[in-house]
Amino acid sequence: MIERQKRMGAELLNLLGNKRVYWDGASGTLLQAHGLRSGELPETWNLSHPEEIIEVGASYYRAGANIVNTNTFGANALKFPENLEDIVTAAVHHTCAAREKVMRELSERGEKPQDMFVALDIGPTGKLLEPMGDLPFEEAVGLFAQVVRCGAAAGADLVLIETMNDTYEAKAAVLAAKENCDLPVCVTTTYDGNGTLLTGGTPDVVVALLEGLGVDALGINCGLGPQQMMPIVKRLLETASVPVIVNPNAGLPHTENGQTIYDIGPDQFAEYMREIAQMGAHVLGGCCGTTPEHIRKMIRVTGDIPVTMPQKKHRTVVTSFSKAIQIGGKPVVIGERINPTGKKKFQAALREHNIEYIISQGLEQEESGAAILDVNVGLPDIDEPAMMKEVVTSLQAVSALPLQIDTSDPKALEAALRCYNGKPMINSVNGKTESIESVMPLVKKYGGVLVGLALDETGIPPDAGGRVAVAQKIYEAADRYGIDRCDIVIDGLAMAVSSDSKGALTTLETIRRVRKEMNGYTILGVSNISFGLPRREIINSTFLTMALQEGLSCAIINPNNEPMMRAVKAFCALSDMDPQFETYIGTYAGTKADVTASYATAGPAASGGNAEVTGMSLGECVEKGLSERARRAAQEGLAGHESMELIDGELIPALDRVGKGFEKGTLYLPQLLMAAEAAQAAFEVIRESMQGSETQTKGRIIMATVKNDIHDIGKNIVKVMLENYGFEVIDLGKDVPPETIVDCAVREDIQLVGLSALMTTTVVSMEETIKMLRAVKPETKIMVGGAVMTQEYADKIGADCYSKDAMGAVRYAESLFHGA
């Protein structure tokens, strides 16, 4: 079996590279004609109606298809926990039997059979992956792996992963296929009329991600008819280096008497497919609504169109789930701020597991105009692979920017590459054999654009010639590992010019020579150049301009630093890379040269900022919900007051006034929250001034949204309010199992637990949590809240307090802890 599969796999790959290949069409409609009821799972027929399944497959081989799918689109352990293996094995056997049947028929008639293959069909799980959904990535890989192992063992010739509308799920499926069999892997995704996946991916993103993972062919299926697919097919053909598959529906659906009808018949379908073949698509087939007749006619009218085989496109592309950044045109700004080096606050955030702080650093850089975010979370005393995975997962939930995985730990690198939703940038490999051997296999497996540092066993070459030689070595290593040279970007190494006055020139020459002699792209961590010098941004921004002039492709900088971004924008405007000066004018029109940039000396901010604050006390700023002003008022206030005076005399009374207004119904939730945020901003300033001295908390409280419930906004509102009133909140998050809450309450000896549930169905989890907690730690008080909660409900499930809103929770906590 294995030998035969290998031979078939090789034959298929050969065919894909040389001839037009035809896929089958829909099977659902045919099965319905055989009596499958709507609502009945088609895969169950593999066991109950083998003859019908074989006949459907045979009808497509008879129509001339080269590849016929097994009836396993929805087969996974979520839907078939008990008999998945039987269903998949039977399905593969049926399609193999269909092939034999048609081969026999043809040989009886003395006709030569076409090449025929059996594709193990894999569709989406029907669940959305974490962090947007609740299916963990590795569980998705596991679900697909089961199907792949069964299907390969049963004799499938290739794997087709299809109808994917989420790049992340597609990635999970490809990894499962690659890790569990040696069969060729093809992937088709489903696009919207506007050319994106439901989860936001564009053709550029999908192509980069799938080719990075090493699929053998990719394309589009379902969702649209052939006509609507054409613009997307065009883009796929422009970007893909592997064969492109096009399996459209038979037009667009409408309903007639409860039946879904597709509006394109076989002849019209064939005509459109002829056009698509002329565009250069390599593999043609059908999806929903297509029949053997559609496929037969399509094959007939496309047979004479010459096949142009895919060419390597050599595009250097980095992507997130939705955004593709091409390297080699306009310079690409990579934000360097997610990095603990030399940053006490960031280091503390890593140690305290303050993921939100880390994420906020990313969002801030996105605002400032970074195109890619560098992610470095390496500290000697933390679990870097776990932290890397968590930060990458959390970042890609909220930011659409591609990431640059920056680590020297191969385990952390693999953890990040695995869970990354896109084609990342990887920082870095160098010329050392050990580095090449640990990093390049990972890049080959997961895909990515790799930064190659121009240093090796002998250290950093002092001259450009030495650095170019290391670059050459890295390119050659990439060749050996089968990594396209366009996926390498060379770091020419910016070193402190204060210790070597020729250092900057050496770096610039390296950039120039990599570009000219090797046609390569380059990258620099720009700010290293000014290490040890005053007013570093002066040196940095000028050096950046010089490097850009030499052709630097990517600059790792602090995008929040205005002089650096100015250098980039001015360079683009001056180099014909900013059409109509759109970016330059959009950024700077109507702005004034700021004082600091032209004259100011280092020191406390000029007094101009205070004028705005004057006339409004800290308390008033908080009451009005003005965060920025509250921050400045707090800074000012600290000049003449003790921090506790500010807290007790201004902040708390202001919060109380807002809280009372909210309770009376004269103020509303947005005002309450804006005031809370302004107070938080002020607290932050005051807390920084108090560093070192003990801060007292009024009490420690656990907050959690109960198991099975994913609504955490209400819980977070309560948390913010409690914190403002001086309580320490241990936030266990959402969908929290009762055991976790109970364990934490016991371990931390907590006196008050706040539980939130939004749905009637999840109040059950709340009740369970209360029961468990009462059994183990009866003295702990429990307050509950959430949209469906009422006093009556709360009494019924045995809570100590029902709070209808955030202020209610604050009042209860105060009464409890003051009483204690």
Binding site: R37, K127, N165, S360
Partner: protein, 202 residues
């Protein structure tokens, strides 16, 4: 085209009731949030018309197409209906991302985006409702009001069947968590009873 969102509805979700209005500054931030949600929303839906058959042997039980539902409330709501339009609608995962992102920096905007998202999916439902009413009218029928799994004793555990019959994962990208909650979170499933004119709406 951008999803339209009723500003008054957003205010109502944020607690402004009985004619109360946000002050100018707050209203401005709310407007910004509405704009962001409208831009991020990608409305999608899946719809099916199914026969309604009341079980003669089992009280308070009916068939919606192939789906068997035991629910006193739903049976009462669909009294006199021979057919139902079942639909699932969403404004897409982009709105969830927007809300998640806002939650990193502050709760005020998060709550506003949340309210705007809820109003957006309501607006999508209203559009679909309108289409259903038109189609019902063509058939000489009238519509009952919307009724969703999770209301009364119409159990949320019917969600997999409802989304399954609509093929909502494929058509609209609506999926479920293990606890039967919909993702994207700003999604709605509902049943609208269809009846001949003689029967009165409740």
């Amino acid at each position: 085209m951008q999803q339209k969102i009723d500003k008054k509805e957003v205010w109502r979700y944020l607690g402004y009731r009985g004619g109360a209005q946000p002050d100018d500054e707050t209203a401005q931030v709310i407007d910004e949030c509405i704009g962001q949600v409208a831009a991020a929303a990608v409305p999608k839906y899946a719809l099916a018309w199914v026969p309604v058959v009341f079980d003669q042997n089992e009280p308070d039980t009916l068939l919606l197409g192939d789906m068997r539902v035991a629910s006193k409330n739903l049976c009462r709501h669909l009294q006199g209906c021979h057919e139902a339009a079942v639909f699932a609608a969403t404004v897409g995962i982009g709105v969830d991302r927007l809300i998640k992102k806002a939650a990193v920096t502050g709760m005020a905007r998060t709550a506003m985006l949340q309210a705007a998202g809820a109003a957006a999916v309501e607006a999508v439902c209203d559009d679909i409702n309108g289409q259903i009413r038109l189609e019902a009218g063509r058939r000489g029928c009238l519509c009952k009001t919307r009724y969703s799994p999770g209301f009364g004793d119409f159990k949320l555990s019917h969600q997999p069947e409802v989304l399954g019959m609509l093929n909502a994962a494929k058509k609209a990208g609506i999926t479920l968590t293990d606890g039967y909650l919909m993702i994207p979170s700003k999604s709605v499933t509902a049943v609208i009873g269809i009846y001949k004119e003689a029967v009165k709406d409740e």
